[in-house]
Amino acid sequence: MTAQMTAHKNGEVLLKVDDLTVEFDTPRGPVRAVDGVSWQVRAGETLAILGESGSGKSVSTQALTGILEMPPGRILKGTAEYRGADLIQMTTKERRRIVGDRITMVFQDSLSALNPVQSVGTQIAECYRVHRGLSKRDALTKAAEMLDQVRIPAAAKRVNDYPHEFSGGMRQRVMLAMALALDPDVLIADEPTTALDVTVQAQILELIAELQAERQMGVVLITHDLGVVADVADNVVVMYAGHVVERAATAEALEYPVHPYTEGLLGSMPSADLKGQELPTIPGTPPSLRAIPSGCAFRTRCPIAIDDCAAEVPPLLTVGPGRDAACIRRTTLAEKEAV
């Protein structure tokens, strides 16, 4: 990657995804959910993957961690290297030593993402038992410590409670405790705050940031919420219809969006300046993956599209230091192909 990430430049690259392409077999033929996606995350860095539902942001991480149902899913090409070892080429057994230990995940809906018939303590302790071989008692003690670390009050008591006995925010903390139990290098948080109300959302994001700082952990934050990106992400990857359309440091992307899609997203954020006016929106809806427009997938909704946009899929080009975008109307400045 030629792009220079502005923050945490010196951190070790922990997870490097390159040209990842995932298809789904459907009764009406294969559908490409993720097309040539590349990104990387360094120690201590928070990388946001921003996109609407169906843009392929979750599928890409599920594919590289091996939890995607395959079939119907299929990885066509690409690599996902954890400290240089390709997760995709690994055997399931080898991958299990990394996923769940060095790379862990948090999901959106904590009520359905936790096993309803096991106490939260048992579920957290399972990490220690499987990956560290601890005894039941030691594992439960460590699970209680973890609950305490994610600031669950009376953790020693609550370790025996079941998921439905926690509130939404507390349950997401339990998920975090489980994901961070083994001190992972990379945390993949898949819409961790989407199901929560705004105040609880802020608390959870703050907690993630604190725990990240303590551990120098790389965080991949999957979200559709630009506000969340602005708050916590160092760098952002914007996805649209399975493609990466823009890649930049968060501050720059928010200040000077290059891709018209990013621009549209920013424009439709409520702000004090727009008080009393109708909130601008991007016209149209995201395309069905079955019928992605030729060339640039965004062109049918793009205010600056020209005939050439239909010709071919615009390549992700470097438009400035640490910035890549895939738009032939905007990448004329310093054309240099980004990898």
Partner: protein, 308 residues
């Protein structure tokens, strides 16, 4: 927990009254005279007839007969059958027979059902799964009566693997054939239910979480998928167990096992309202108790329904 049990038992009392009254009314409404049925072709002296009629209150109005029967049942004075057998003795002899039969039958049914259900659920669309669907359809299409007689003829009369009928050879030999037939006829439904439940659970979010934790496939299956997939099966097994008495009527009659079902069958034939109501009450009580046990067990397995 105690409150829960108490509430359920109290709610069962009015239901029990309605059930026994209804059963008694049905027996009362059946055509025919019980004593003449008992005597068959032999003439009975009028005096004997009158004495018997008075003994069993057969000339009292329906509701009086019902109340007298209920009084006998509740006070534990079961009396004798029309034919003169002591009912309490009969129960002592017959309850173990029915228990042995139904428990053995359920053991077969659950073993087969759980084994094939789990196997088909974990290996979806494999040949076991496909043949299970076919087997279910075939078994559902075979009437129980046909299966009992066919099994009796084939394995009892022709192959002589099992005794044809009766309990002379004791437990378990005399019970094996009827229990196997009940088990085989019933296992397919259980297996299908478990299979479907597993298939639904496999796609649950918490299974994804379990995989993301780097757990081995076996651990995911046995620790995360199965405990959740078993929840609907527990309800099914409870209902099945509670309904075992009804199924025993046909099986015990065909295989000539002297259990409660056979007793019930004879009592209905003779219009013996008192015995029928007594047996119905027993069935009802066992139904309530088993359901209660299942609900308590459900609470143990699924923390979400505790204290409900």
């Amino acid at each position: 927990m105690i409150r829960f049990v108490l509430r359920r038992v109290l709610a069962a009392i009015p239901i029990g009254l309605v059930v026994t009254l209804g059963v008694y009314a049905l027996v009362f409404a059946m055509p025919g005279d019980p004593l003449r049925e008992l005597a068959g072709d032999k003439p009975i002296p009028a005096a004997v007839l009158a004495a018997k009629r008075a003994q069993f209150h057969l000339d009292d109005p329906f509701i009086v007969q019902y109340l007298l029967s209920m009084k006998d049942i509740l006070t534990g004075h079961f009396g004798t059958t029309f034919a003169g057998a002591d009912i309490a003795d009969q129960l002592r002899l017959r309850i173990p027979v029915t228990l042995k039969l139904t428990l053995l039958a359920n053991a077969f049914q659950w073993t087969l059902g759980l084994f094939f259900g789990i196997y088909a659920g974990f290996k979806r669309n494999g040949w076991v799964d496909r043949s299970l669907l076919l087997t279910t359809l075939v078994l559902l299409a075979v009437p129980g009566l046909v299966a009992y007689f066919a099994a009796q003829y084939l394995f009892g009369v022709e192959l002589k693997w099992f005794p044809v009928s009766g309990v002379l050879e004791g437990f378990p030999r005399s019970y094996l054939l009827p229990a196997l037939v009940i088990g085989v006829l019933g296992f397919a439904g259980l297996a299908r239910l478990l299979r479907t439940s597993i298939v639904e659970t496999v796609n649950a979010d918490f299974v994804k979480t379990a995989r993301a934790k780097g757990l081995g496939e076996q651990r995911v299956l046995w620790r995360h998928i199965l405990p959740n997939a078993l929840l609907p099966v527990i309800t099914f097994i409870g209902l099945d167990l509670a309904g075992m008495f009804g199924g025993a009527i046909i099986t015990e009659s065909i295989f000539n096992l002297p259990g409660l079902g056979q007793f019930m069958f004879q009592a209905i034939k003779l219009k013996e309202g008192g015995v029928v109501v007594l047996l119905s009450t027993l069935a009802f009580i066992s139904f309530i108790v088993i359901n209660l046990l299942v609900d308590v067990l459900y609470g143990v397995v699924d923390p979400r329904v505790r204290n409900v």
